[in-house]
Subunit: 199 residues, 2 copies
């Protein structure tokens, strides 16, 4: 085995660690990269090196940043009185794509999990409570996933925020826009019916 | 949008071009990389840059190489009298994993396709014919995929090799090792029955 093959094997192994890629799809991806090494592979390697060097966590909200503050926390036009709690940066991005929220965020980085030894400290919940008090936030929106873990974590946060006096809200449950009733699960139908509104 | 976000967006866009990843899974992969930027992202960027710089095509067989000759063509212990024709480097790797073949290869880089304007010249078929003559190869094994395109290409190559006098063979068709009849397609069952052997 020459150095070259070892380099390629090492690259495949690293690629296979990415979520959504296994050993087989990592091989395919690497072959594709080698075929397009000029147009895709070299730019990708550069982009990756650049992000690896500059990316870090926002000291305030946990979002991805390149300075101490992320661009949302550093943006004066975002409302300071509202904090939206999300599980992950991917959820923050999803909220931002919605373009409906003008406040700031708190990224938990996961959910409470006794099994994985993830407690309130790991998710920065005491830090969130301090921040809500210090910034005198009016409202904390719990935008956690509608899973058992997400909802357990939401309940814990709501209780922890009780002394701060901030209004704690959560995203509405119902039929997704464009959703067909026939394809929805029973839980969503029940939630949508319970939260029905005057037409 | 700061430079940082632009860098991350650019990285997601490049990742989304990989086979097996779409925009959504590219976002997930990039988030994962940023979270593990020390252990995974920086080494991956380095490995990618190294391979992008060194990888090229073997001048003889079309395999991935770092010198003019790939390590199989440069290996004296590999039989020179046998050439195995494969569609892609991934297929060469699959043959090598089998550890049963001790000859050399010819990588086509695709199949004949009138629609995509891929002719014999693009697949290096004239070069293969010259090579078989020059090396006085005894046998050419057509290890093309059992698809319509693969088999059309195999027939074309077999005809082109006719004047060289080399024996042209192809991989056996039959029940895969560990395969259950109930899950096999009709074509495989028919091929396995037609090629049945004394027990």
């Amino acid at each position: 085995m020459t150095d070259a093959t070892r380099d390629i094997e090492a690259l495949i192994e690293l690629m296979a660690r990415l979520p959504g890629l296994g050993p087989r799809s990592a091989r395919r991806a690497v072959l594709h990269l080698i075929k397009k090494r000029g147009q895709v592979m070299a730019p990708l390697a550069q982009a990756m090196a650049r992000v690896a060097e500059t990316a870090r966590e926002c000291a305030v909200c946990g979002n991805i940043a390149t300075a101490d503050l992320c661009e949302i926390c550093a943006d004066d036009r975002r409302n300071t009185g509202e904090i939206c709690v999300v599980e992950d940066v991917a959820d923050l991005w999803a909220m931002e794509r919605g373009q409906a929220y003008k406040g700031r965020y708190h990224v938990l980085g996961g959910t409470l999990s006794a099994l994985d030894a993830v407690g309130p400290e790991e998710l920065g919940i005491p830090r969130l409570v301090r921040r809500v008090t210090e910034e005198a936030a009016r409202e904390v929106i719990l935008a956690l996933n509608a899973t058992v873990d997400g909802q357990t974590t939401a309940h814990y946060i709501a209780e922890a925020l009780d002394p701060t006096g901030a209004a704690v809200t959560t995203l509405a449950r119902g039929v997704p826009v464009g959703g067909e009733l026939d394809y929805l699960d029973d839980g969503t139908i029940q939630a949508a019916l319970r939260a029905r509104k005057a037409f």
